[in-house]
């Protein structure tokens, strides 16, 4: 810690001395940021280049400039500040993203258009992703399985990495801050005529932190990780292009389960992405893509005498070849179609077998502008699968410009999430307590085996119920929005959303064991919905000031729970000594970990003659419940809630000698923590940053 403070002090001194020093010269330095940006282009929504402003889908774009000015390190930092998005800690220690009130497992995360894997407990830990080499982050809300297949229920987040500019370029970035956090990255790029190559290295270290000092364990144990990414882009001629990308990520963290049980957890991940593009003529172009990725997580615990207490492995592989074609019959329409195949395997501790998923798929999308004011997108995808029910995912979207100032848009889409390997193949018996969890597909073979071994007292759910394939969790999402440009410097946009989610997978007791414990397995049961309104405002009162505000109202509920309240089947008691009373319909609060209100507010301010930019950002989330506290198994208004809170961040950056940038900032200025309930907010963070461009 002391080293850390010194570092910040050095940054601080350096920063201000430069500030003083450079002020005198400022007037002669040509301004380089003034060039008007071209219209924002987004690729994730349609898999073709589209203007963000004309898109019929709710989408959001985060630029490199914003990432730099707020000095983000990991993906979770930046996503947390966007309207309707919040990162929630997973019990495994990772952080997943909640989008339109949908859980972290229902948002697809892509890097340059291809998915990241490694959802060992359903959640993909987005703090795994460094933002050091990001060009922009694209977020499309609403079910998008019509283009992307599984996991795109809530939406898609696509991270587009940076490409080099002409010539040789390099930048170094270093940030250190509280809690022993050091982040260093280097980008090297070279581009000449036909070829460009870029290499990126990032090292991140965290000393961890401890919110509850009473026990032996730390809230987050120290860890360090490294990201390596190399991309090669080669134009054979005007028409043919080859893109190759390789990425490697490795993380090491102390793993402490108790005073006596200590070990380590490791993550190793690699991705290779190869894409050959060819333009035949004005109308036709094609892409051949090959993607392979492996995610490995191992952890072990040792006894005090260094003998092994436990060891778990998770090793997932995804291979995906895909062919895509784009056909543009006229200026008004674009067809895109694709054909691909997902091959997935997993080797994991406590599995009944080494499962293999094979899933060929095909999709087609038609994007048309019948006239200047109307845009229509029609799309559908079919995913065939060898282990669960095949899926057909249609989507349609429409945007109509009522006037220069107002446009309305709407979309309806289908999304699904394939049952994960665990839900199908788990074969786990808890050695201490004695219960068993079986994956859906493991029940028909494993349960009779257990019965033969005399472990089963009686079977509660007949085996015949496991003959049909498990349904993927699926949803229909509806988004209706208005874009309103009051003046060129004042914009509003409103989106009303509803996601109807069916066949959510949960566990139930399928048999009793003779030891008094149960055998659990998975089944399709819940229906939940999330609905709400999202409002975004952007105001630029002057060229150097940008003020934005966002708000999301959310209702996320389980329909069976709603019925239980409606029918008067739910009770509560105020204290353990008072009698229970019946709850009313309006007493049902909804799903866990959902806040009714979320808001953000940001001011970006630039002083051009000083080459200085500063910003203040605030996020707020209203009260939410993490679990039932009054024993009726529902979250109702009489439960204990986690209080609403707001977090304010401040950053200031100064460019000097054109290529050097120093930054200082405080994240979580007010030092908010909730040591009991919120494990991913460490407290106030001071930091300093140095960025050098060559």
């Amino acid at each position: 810690m002391s080293l850390n403070k010194n570092n910040i002090l050095i940054f601080f001194l350096f920063f201000f001395s430069c500030l003083l020093f450079s002020q005198e010269k400022n007037t002669i330095i040509q301004d380089s940021t003034k060039t008007e940006k071209l219209e924002d282009v987004i690729i994730t929504a349609t898999r073709t280049k589209r203007q963000l402003s004309s898109l019929p889908l709710p989408a959001l774009l985060i630029s490199k400039k914003e990432i730099h000015s707020i000095n983000s390190l990991r993906l979770n930092d930046i996503l947390n500040e966007q309207t309707g998005l919040i990162t929630v800690p997973d019990f495994g220690g990772g952080e997943g993203i909640q989008l339109q009130g949908l859980d972290a497992q229902y948002t697809l995360i892509l890097i340059d258009g291809v998915p990241l894997i490694g959802r060992s407990a359903g959640t993909l830990d987005i703090s795994r992703i460094t933002v050091g080499n990001i060009k922009q982050i694209e977020i499309v809300k609403g079910a998008s399985s019509s283009l992307y297949g599984s996991d795109a229920l809530g939406g898609v987040i696509n991270i587009i990495t940076e490409n080099p500019k002409n010539g040789f370029n390099a930048d170094l970035n270093s940030r250190s801050g509280s809690f022993g956090t050091y982040d260093n990255s280097m980008n090297l790029g070279y581009k000449k005529e036909k070829m460009s190559i870029t290499s990126f290295i990032n090292g991140f270290q965290s000393g961890g932190y401890d919110l509850n000092t009473e026990d032996e364990l730390k809230t987050v144990e120290p860890y360090s990780n490294y990201t390596f990414n190399t991309k090669l882009d080669f134009n054979f001629n005007d028409k043919t292009n080859l893109f190759i990308s390789g990425r490697y990520y490795t993380q090491n963290q102390d793993y402490v389960a108790s005073e006596n049980l200590k070990g380590e957890s490791k993550i190793n991940e690699w991705n290779t992405h190869l894409k050959l593009s060819h333009t035949y003529n004005k109308k036709w172009s094609s892409y051949f893509e090959f993607y392979a990725t492996r995610y490995k997580a191992n952890e072990f615990l040792n006894n005090p005498d260094n003998s092994r207490f436990s060891e778990t492995d998770f090793n997932q592989l995804l291979i995906r070849p895909e062919a895509r074609g784009i056909y543009i019959p006229s200026e008004k329409s674009t067809f895109i179609g694709g054909l691909g195949w997902n091959h997935e395997t997993l080797i994991r501790t406590d599995f009944s077998s080494q499962p293999e998923f094979n899933s060929p798929y095909i999709y087609l999308q038609y994007d048309t502008n019948p006239n200047d004011k109307l845009n229509i997108i029609l799309g559908a995808r079919f995913d065939n699968h060898n282990k669960y029910k095949s899926q057909f995912s249609p989507k349609t979207a429409l945007r109509y410009e009522l006037s220069n100032k107002i446009a309305v848009k709407g979309s309806v889409g289908y999304g699904f999430k394939a049952p994960d390997f665990r839900q199908l193949y788990f074969d786990f018996s808890n050695a201490i307590v004695g219960y068993t969890v079986l994956g859906y597909n493991a029940v028909t073979t494993k349960l009779p085996e257990m019965e033969d071994e005399g472990q089963i007292a009686n079977i509660i759910v007949p085996l015949s119920e496991f003959e049909d394939e498990l349904n993927p969790e699926n949803s229909v999402s509806i988004n209706i929005g208005i874009d309103y440009t009051l003046y060129s410097n004042l914009k509003f946009n409103l989106n009303i959303f509803r996601n109807n989610i069916h066949d959510l997978i949960d566990t139930r007791v399928v048999a009793n064991k003779i030891n008094g414990q149960n055998v659990f397995s998975y089944y399709n049961v819940h229906k939940v919905y999330t609905q709400g309104v999202e409002l975004n405002t952007l105001w630029k009162p002057a060229t150097n000031i940008k003020i934005s505000g966002g708000y999301q109202l959310l209702f996320a509920k389980d329909t069976a729970a709603e019925d239980a309240f409606k029918n008067g089947n739910v009770y509560a008691r105020l204290t353990p000594s008072s009698s229970s009373f019946q709850l009313k319909e309006q007493d049902y609060f909804g799903l866990y970990n959902r806040s009714r209100h979320m808001a953000n507010f940001k001011i970006f301010y630039t002083v051009e003659k000083w080459h200085l930019d500063a910003n203040i950002r605030g996020t707020y989330r209203s009260k939410y419940g993490l679990y039932d506290t009054n024993g009726n198994s529902y979250l109702d208004t009489y439960d204990e809630f986690i209080k609403g809170y707001s977090i304010w961040d401040f950053a200031i950056n100064k460019t000097f000698f054109k290529n050097y940038q120093l930054g200082l900032g405080i994240d979580n200025v007010l030092g908010f923590t909730d040591t009991q309930n919120i494990s991913n907010i460490s407290g106030r963070i001071f930091y300093g940053k140095l960025n050098i461009n060559f």
Binding site: I432, V433, G434, G516, N569, V570, Y571, A572, R573, T575, P576, S577, S578, S579, S580, F581, Q582, Y627, D628, T629, N630, G631, N632, S633, E640
Partner: protein, 205 residues
């Protein structure tokens, strides 16, 4: 006219009162409403110890309103989260008492006051397949591992000698703390409220 009316009413009223006073063969007993605190119901083994659950059940009689060690004069008994009735047959767990009476019961979704009449069609006895009184609590799991008596669960019970009682369990922890912690608070102490109908054959409360 008016005085005559009043007089007849008064006479009627008095005769009704005297009727109930005179009826000596079947005295109408007052319904009893009680709260029992910290009824200790320990168990041995179980909970991941690798050993079977054992230990004597703590028996309770509604007619005396007290715990009892009698082998026959008990209605309901507790051991950890297990609750048994003095009727039917034993599940056969270690140290589980034999049933000598005709007790039976069911769990109703209601407030305690909301149960005004026993639905005798729902009454069931314990058997070698399982107990009648299950699902009365909610287990919170980590981090606090609290056992909370589920609100709105009323135990409707026919006693070992054919009378009726309704029970609402309030707490599983000693002195019924406001915010119990399953790891630190002493558990297996039942606090419950009950209403006992001491009159034979009356199914209303």
């Amino acid at each position: 006219m008016r005085t005559i009316k009043f007089f007849t009413l008064a006479v009627l009223f008095i005769s009704i009162l005297s009727c109930s006073d005179d009826n000596d063969d079947a005295p109408f007993l007052v319904i009893e409403s009680e709260t029992i605190s910290n009824l200790h119901a320990p168990q041995s083994g179980g909970q991941g110890s690798g050993e079977d659950i054992s230990g004597a059940f703590t028996k309770f009689s509604f007619s005396t309103g007290q715990a009892t060690t009698s082998e026959t004069e008990w209605d309901i008994a507790f051991r950890g989260t297990s609750i048994i009735l003095n009727g039917g047959t034993s599940l056969g767990t270690t140290d589980e008492p034999d049933r000598t009476g005709e007790a039976s019961g069911y769990i109703a979704d209601s407030t305690l006051g909301g149960i005004t009449k026993v639905n005798t069609a729902l009454l069931k006895e314990d058997s070698d397949k399982g107990y009648v009184i299950t699902g009365w609590y909610t287990y919170s799991g980590p981090p606090k591992h609290v056992i909370t008596p589920t609100p709105g669960k009323v135990l409707v019970i026919k006693t070992h000698d054919g009378k009726y009682a309704k029970v609402e369990i309030l707490s599983y922890y000693k002195d019924a703390p406001e915010n119990p912690d399953g790891l630190t608070d002493e558990s297996r102490y039942f606090t419950f409220k009950y209403v006992y109908q001491p009159n034979e054959g009356i199914t209303t409360f």
